[in-house]
Symmetry: C2
Subunit: 186 residues, 2 copies
Amino acid sequence: MHLSQEGIESVSSKDLAGLLGVNPWQIRKDFSYFGDFGTPGVGYKLTHLIRRINKILHLDIGHKAALVGVGNLGSAMLAFPGFRTYGFEITAAFDVDRRKIGRRKAGVLVEDIARLTNLDARDICLGIIAVPEGASQAVADRLVGAGVRAILNFSPRYITVPKRVKVITIDIAMDLARLPYYMSAG
Amino acid sequence: MHLSQEGIESVSSKDLAGLLGVNPWQIRKDFSYFGDFGTPGVGYKLTHLIRRINKILHLDIGHKAALVGVGNLGSAMLAFPGFRTYGFEITAAFDVDRRKIGRRKAGVLVEDIARLTNLDARDICLGIIAVPEGASQAVADRLVGAGVRAILNFSPRYITVPKRVKVITIDIAMDLARLPYYMSAG
DNA sequence: GTTTGTGAATAGTTTCACAGCA
DNA sequence: TGCTGTGAAACTATTCACAAAC
């Protein structure tokens, strides 16, 4: 992605592998499942590759997201520029805290969580849960009721949703907890 | 983990499976690799299970971590209570911004990144990278030089380190980017 | 009756090696 | 010569089924 800014037009599977920390044949095998074709002897043309991958992952159209929980982590999400890279935009934010409701954070109005309904009417298909601990299931239920089709969950709890809704959970503490196992003696 | 607060003493593989969203036999198989034993007809005793898992993952001793990058995400990390659950504590924070250096965030003094050396002398074995974009590799190099043995990397870049150092990268934007693929028509 | 622990069967992933194209 | 795309081999993980334990 950064490569295109450096005037590079083509990358080989070896280049990509080095950049991503995997083996070249993994790259080629993965691409081959989608019939993606590069040029033997040259590599993959960057513009073509990016367009193709965006299409496969459905990133070719923009997506609007609603954030629930404007605490430390939620605020970081609102300010995070990385979402734009893949065509995402947080266009709504919700919280329970009266002191936050009505104010703006990173240009987005913080609304009362009671108003978290009919997100589909606002063209929002995606929910981000950044509330602390136990509230996550209730928030997930509200998001599903409001019509989102996918949820990014930052709370350290497994949440249950209808199977038409896709959930990805990022449990930061648990990810960190995997590290000590690999650290030799200490 | 929350279960112990509810007075529950034993869990079956079925209970755990429901709680984690996986199959019961997956739980049993995974435990069996470590020769962990529950009681047939009853289940797994919670206190024993937690102690055993903490031992296996080396979470039975506390770990000190250094945070690099006290921006939005970094501040969220400092305030995040979840690390304590697994025995982690952020005891040092570093930034390049003169306005932040010398101040305290969530009780932790923000130091000049130039002072990021000899972390091992301060009993810190773990680095958390929360800097924006391109600075991540340079920060990783500094952390390795200062003696950390593992890194939690929040920047969307693959970083290269000696193989004795374990890295886990959490690319929030890319995790989010996986969702649209699963959302039907939109 | 209930639940664990595990061998065997099944499914999936990673790795390799090489034919074919630029 | 350099690199892709893919069939086959090796490996790993998941699922099942059931004997032994409570």
